[in-house]
Amino acid sequence: MTGQPETGTEGLLAGIPRQGGQPAPADPTAVAPAPAVAPPSPPPLRPRLGAQLRDAVSAGCTAFSARPLARHQAAVVRIGFALVFTLHLLREWPHRRVLYGDRSPWSPGLVRDLLGDTHAFTVLVWRDEGWWFEGCYLLAILAGVLLLLGWRTRFSSVFFLVAVVSVQNRNILVGDGGDNIVHLMAIYLVFTRCAEVWSLDARRRARGGGGDAVGVLLWVLGGALLTAAQLTGHLTWRGDGWPYLGWSVLFWTLWAFAALWWLVGRRWPGGEPRAVLDALATMLHHCAMVVIAAQVVLVYSTAGWYKVQGSRWQDGSALYYPLHLDYFTPWPGLSALLGGSAVLVFVCSYGTVLVQVAFPFTLVNRRVKNVLLAVMITEHLAIAVLLGLPIFSLAMVAADAVFLPTGALLWLGGRVRSVLGAAGRRPVAT
């Protein structure tokens, strides 16, 4: 956090129309600034329109490439999903061998048969020995913690991706919607600049960088691991379905880009090649943030639009049923209490569909969007308790967080910092 005004980092989509190159107030309640372009006055129309269009395109290109927007949103998504995955692994520690290891009913033979068909990626089937599994599980926890802290994030985000995909693809049949969204976000996060704030990386940069040796070491380590995996035939350049790209393409490209970044930074610290790389990375970050936001919109749109067709959602009794499913009633008394009220069930059922269907359209108005976001986060917290799905709910809240206004995130960051400060620790954020 810099204390300086942010530029258009308020919620992702809601922020895009305001990228006129003019700083927006950090306070989300403040009135949006007037458009940067000149006020419309009737004639002469033609030259104005052309100039406006040119200015708009130019401003858009600048905003797209100049510096990363939505840095706090990216950071909160990073922290949120790293936390979700780490908590999941810790919670399942006593059951890890039954879910993903040697005691699993989904035996190594069964998973290999399925992987032969789906071609999903997991390092857990590379060896069957117990030490391999236990080591990978511990490393997966480490990956979650490192990404959470934002330590060497270019490395740890890829490490995290491999961990998430490996654990989940070992037994895809024990996951739920929460695991699904973690899986997707773990991939998208690799392409974001998610450690610009609230990370050990940001703190190190603020203190004047340094620590090149660690970066080089990680790069060499990554290269050695990739080479080993490549030589043993576990990584391939060619994928099986369209677009025929194997995991090797992603990993080696990232590896090569890291080297290029380092070399250019040393050779021309303030030069143009360095600026070009920076702009490319920023554009990639923006594309990945759009994908993350669109992914969240897809989740709610799909959930909402398919519900519209359901007779139980139409007759307003839909939520009565999950509250009476044995698998989703850890507190049967509470569930029966809520499910017993026709009015409450009706309001919540219709409200759920309304919110899910409406959400994408509210993104054009940030106040309405923020209200809906608060409603959705509340609903997920209720689901966490009522249906016994805390990890799933936390994952959905982490996904929602990409749309939180920067002001709210800064406030939240301040609170966390003061709590950490009160606990006698040094603040992690910078």
């Binding site: 006593p94 610009e196 379905g241 554009m283 519900k307 044995d326």
Partner: protein
């Protein structure tokens, strides 16, 4: 990607050289195009089957499977309205055992638990869904998945029921499901039976190989 411009610094008014501009324009265009194609295909994969998704079926499937697969029909179009219990019994030289309600064990572990484990909430439940989705109504496996689902379900039951019955090694196992409709809400005018409907699976032979790794 480390030290970006000083945060808060005004948008760069850098005058790019021609090669730099070419790289940036080319790279930017490729990124935007790639993003659009990716999102378009993911959209087609979650949308109802339509003319475009049929036309680009191989591209959609190729991109989405296996790592971008997603299903967000959460409680849609209608929430599940029945409780399904999976029960199992063993056979050995000593005879047939009693039915054991495996789902009831899951429920007992979930009740009063603020953080239920995937072992209790998803393992058996989703294995049954997997079996159900990969078998015909007369219990014949469909494709390779059917065989995998059968072995998986068998091993889940064996893990919980153990290796021997009345002192003799287990030689067979039988599963059945009991499906009970959730009673209609008290305010509903509709009525339906809440008596359990049983679905009996055939006896499956059990050998020591089926226990591999289970303990």
């Amino acid at each position: 990607m480390t030290d970006a411009d000083e945060p808060g610094e005004p948008a760069a008014e850098r005058a790019w050289s021609r090669p730099a501009l070419a790289v940036l324009v080319g790279g930017g265009a490729a990124l935007v195009l790639g993003t659009a194609v990716f999102l378009g295909l993911v959209f087609l994969s979650v949308a109802p089957p339509n003319s475009l998704s049929q036309r680009y079926q191989s591209q959609v499937d190729g991109l989405v499977y296996p790592e971008f697969e997603q299903n967000w029909k959460l409680f849609a179009p209608d929430p599940l309205q029945q409780n399904i219990s999976v029960e199992a019994r063993l056979r050995s030289a000593a005879g047939d055992g009693a039915w054991v309600d495996l789902t009831a064990q899951d429920i007992a572990a979930i009740r009063g638990n603020p953080i239920p484990s995937h072992v209790d909430q998803n393992l058996l439940r989703r294995a049954w869904d997997f079996y159900d989705g990969s078998h015909t109504s007369d219990e014949n496996p469909v494709g390779q998945r059917g065989g995998l689902a059968q072995e998986y379900l068998k091993r889940i039951a064996l893990q919980r029921l153990g290796r021997s019955l009345d002192g003799a090694p287990v030689t067979g196992i039988e599963l059945r499901s009991a499906t009970t409709a959730v009673a209609p809400p008290p305010w509903s005018t509709q009525q339906w039976s809440t008596a359990p409907q049983y679905r009996q699976l055939p006896w499956w032979p059990v050998s020591t190989a089926d226990y591999g790794g289970l303990s």
